[in-house]
Symmetry: C2
Subunit: 247 residues, 2 copies
């Protein structure tokens, strides 16, 4: 079973996972180019004897890094949503992916057991090792290959990063009207609570889906920034089109 873990990287993901794994009683060491504390080790000290060496660094540096570190006897995996399995250097016999589908901030209070982990590996036996380990830690996991993971990452960007921008936009509107943004929180919580496997368009409400052109026009007049008025129009048109397809 996987017990000795080397985490490469002391950014948001590396910090979060190393803490969570240590709290679960695993033997965790953090390696970084620039250690931030006495408990972190220099990358040059990395050996080859961890059960799992998990890379948590910027996507663009992963392939190169795997060429430079000692060939791992255990599993070498990365935690990225976009880097394909083939980018891990073949010198490491056991390669895998252990991608947490979660936006992890330095201070995020996320329960690791709530995170869906997406697993892939260079062989069935390595995949099974990752799966049994995840199971033993009571983690949620999905088998997702590199091609599907790309689509999943795209879907995460659309639903999470872009909706965060919409929240920012709504924040600006409320700011101008001197209304506390938190007033929207019950509405948005309820929306996410209602998500299931079904197409969310079935729950679409608002002026666009109702074809309420008066409200759409009034809203666009409230938006002084022409780029945002244009985005409002574009989203409203796409909602109307989706609705027409449904009918």
């Amino acid at each position: 079973m996987i017990h000795k873990i080397a985490i490469i990287g002391n950014g948001k993901v590396g910090t979060f996972l190393s803490k969570a794994f240590a709290d679960m009683g695993l033997d965790v060491s953090v390696y970084a180019r620039n250690p931030k504390s006495a408990s972190q080790k220099k990358l040059s000290e990395l050996g080859d004897d961890s059960d799992l060496c998990l890379i948590c660094i910027a996507d663009r540096n992963i392939a190169e890094l795997t060429k430079c570190i000692p060939a791992q006897k255990g599993i070498l995996a990365h935690s990225s949503g976009t880097v394909p399995l083939e980018d891990l250097d073949i010198r490491h016999p056991n390669r895998g992916i252990f991608y947490p589908l979660m936006s992890l901030q330095a201070e995020s209070e996320v329960d690791i057991q709530s995170i869906p982990f997406c697993l892939e590996a260079s062989s069935e036996s390595i995949l099974n090792q990752l799966k049994s380990w995840a199971q033993s830690l009571d983690l949620s996991y999905y088998e997702i290959d590199s091609k599907k993971r790309k689509q999943l990452h795209l879907a995460a960007v659309i639903s999470h990063n872009f909706s965060n921008y919409l929240y920012h936009w709504a924040w600006q509107v409320l700011q101008k009207a001197d209304i506390d943004f938190e007033i929207l929180k019950p509405l948005l919580s309820q929306q996410v609570k209602g998500l299931s496997a079904a197409d969310p368009i079935l729950n679409q409400t608002g002026p666009a889906v109702r074809g309420d052109l008066n409200t759409i026009k009034a809203h666009q007049e409230l938006l002084e920034n022409p780029e945002l008025a244009d985005l409002y129009q574009k989203l409203s048109t796409l909602i109307q089109q989706s609705n027409e397809k449904e009918l």
Copy 2:
């Protein structure tokens, strides 16, 4: 204190509120042009002696309706996010607004106490009556005048209706890759949990805010629909611009 309530309208909002108020032990009657059950009354039977007559019909019909119904001795209020107070006919001496900031579906299991109600009234004394009543029922309420309510409604459309469209878009991406949409739910729940009064742009993550042009390009190649590729670009550009403003 408000006890006898007439709800006009048997759509989503009227049905939800009438059930919730009845569950709270209030004396509720539902009036509708087309009653759907024996317990609902015809609009022509509406009297003038309710403590609160609450209009829950389509925005565009509210002003006209208030001209046609008997002048109410109690409070006449509507539940709309967009209709101004002045649209309530002046024949009714006590006019108000009681707007639930929530997307209410026919089957929504929403706790009424979680809903922020936005209150406004034609006089300080009517506003105080609505406030004490809301307080006695343990409801959350905010004083929001018609001008602010317009901005609030716009912010709700942006953050809720438009993000629902993004969820639909993400659902389509996952559908094509044969991945269950529910995999995104922990990510999206965590995002909403993290909302506070602060500007959400401070929590912005993803390729656009990182300036990760390779990922943006790869994502746009995955999007076969040119309108959606264009929307992806527009949102990414707006995120990059917001970030530059922050720096």
